[in-house]
């Protein structure tokens, strides 16, 4: 990734990412609302730069159990993206999708996991189509993988990915809500020259 590092990222780049996050999360919210047939509100996403060493506690307690969905990103840019949500949010969405009692919170079975992967697909697809639309780059997600574990262990994946090139990682935090709040976090992890490609496509100096 040449000499570009997050330490050099300026406010303008932040604003662009926030805008992408906004549109992406907006698309995702609409897609999920349609799928679940409910009305969803979304708060303005927050874009944060977090020190790699602090990633484990970036979304709360390190031992808190979270649901992580990891997808590869390919074509014009390469890398991966992760969508994370806390356990109550995941249960809430899966219960909606499976038309179950909202209070149901047994461990996820294979069907539930497949529902979670589908949610990940929709959210990642919405986010990436926003990025694609703004940059005119052809960007597509690969199949999603799910892990349910301690936050720090799941977040070690982006920590390692970012740790190879920088001391910081870029987080986009989104909150949706219907009758309960759904907390979600996106982490986009472009590889190699991909960051520069995104910046160049957005007309920002590299």
């Amino acid at each position: 990734m040449a000499d570009l590092s997050f330490e050099d990222i300026n406010d303008k780049y932040f604003d662009v990412l926030k805008e992408i996050g906004n549109i992406g999360a907006g698309n995702a919210t609409t897609a999920i609302a349609n799928m679940l047939n409910l009305r969803l509100d979304m708060k303005v996403p927050k874009v944060e730069l977090i020190a790699v060493e602090k990633i484990g506690s970036a979304i709360g307690s390190e031992e808190q159990i979270v649901v992580g969905i990891l997808l590869g990103v390919e074509n014009d840019i390469n890398g991966s993206m992760m969508f994370l949500m806390d356990l109550p949010s995941a249960h809430h969405l899966v219960n909606r999708l499976m038309m179950r009692d909202p209070e149901y919170n047994e461990d996820f079975d294979e069907m539930d996991l497949s529902a979670i992967r589908e949610i990940g697909n929709i959210i990642a697809g919405s986010y990436l189509s926003a990025l694609s639309g703004l940059t005119n780059l052809n960007i597509s997600p690969t199949i999603p993988y799910v892990s349910i574990d301690m936050a720090a262990a799941i977040l070690s994946v982006p920590a390692i990915q970012f740790g190879m090139v920088s001391d910081n990682a870029l987080f986009i935090r989104t909150e949706f809500s219907d009758d309960v709040a759904i907390n979600g976090y996106f982490i986009l992890m472009p590889e190699g020259e991909s960051y520069e490609k995104i910046l160049r496509a957005l007309g920002l100096p590299v």
């Binding site: 590092s5 990891l70 574990d149 936050a151 262990a153 990915q161 190879m164």
Partner: protein
Amino acid sequence: MGEMIKVGMADLKACNAPDNLTTIGLGSCIGIAIYDPVTKISGLAHIMLPDSTQIRNNSNIAKFADTGIQQLYDDMIKMGANKSRLVAKIAGGATMFAGGGAAPTINVGQRNAEASKAKLKELGVKLLAEDTGLNYGRTVEFYSETGDYLIKAVGKPPKTI
């Protein structure tokens, strides 16, 4: 009962008995515990990547197996640990998303484990036990009085190595 000292991600610490060491939520990272059973000087490193020479951005030496283990070893010798008595136990190195994600992170857990073992061997520190690989996160606690390395994972009974 000593204090439980927390070691963060890309961090390392050494202590004397009765203090103990812990690190939370090892995924693909490795928790390397080094121990002198006579002086009970104990150390724990939480490394993220196998090799500092492969990475341009390598200022934090605790981030890498090669430099992190070296630093911990040096710190412990300085505290009075005896080189020839040092032993080690390691845990972590999981693949959190089997088959998923970007190429360079595939098997980073396994590569972390291999690099840690190679560095310990180079320093002449005997590896007594390991709990590495598979697909789940681990929280570890090292007890300086006994040399026990306690490993906790979600939905699994705790185990001691």
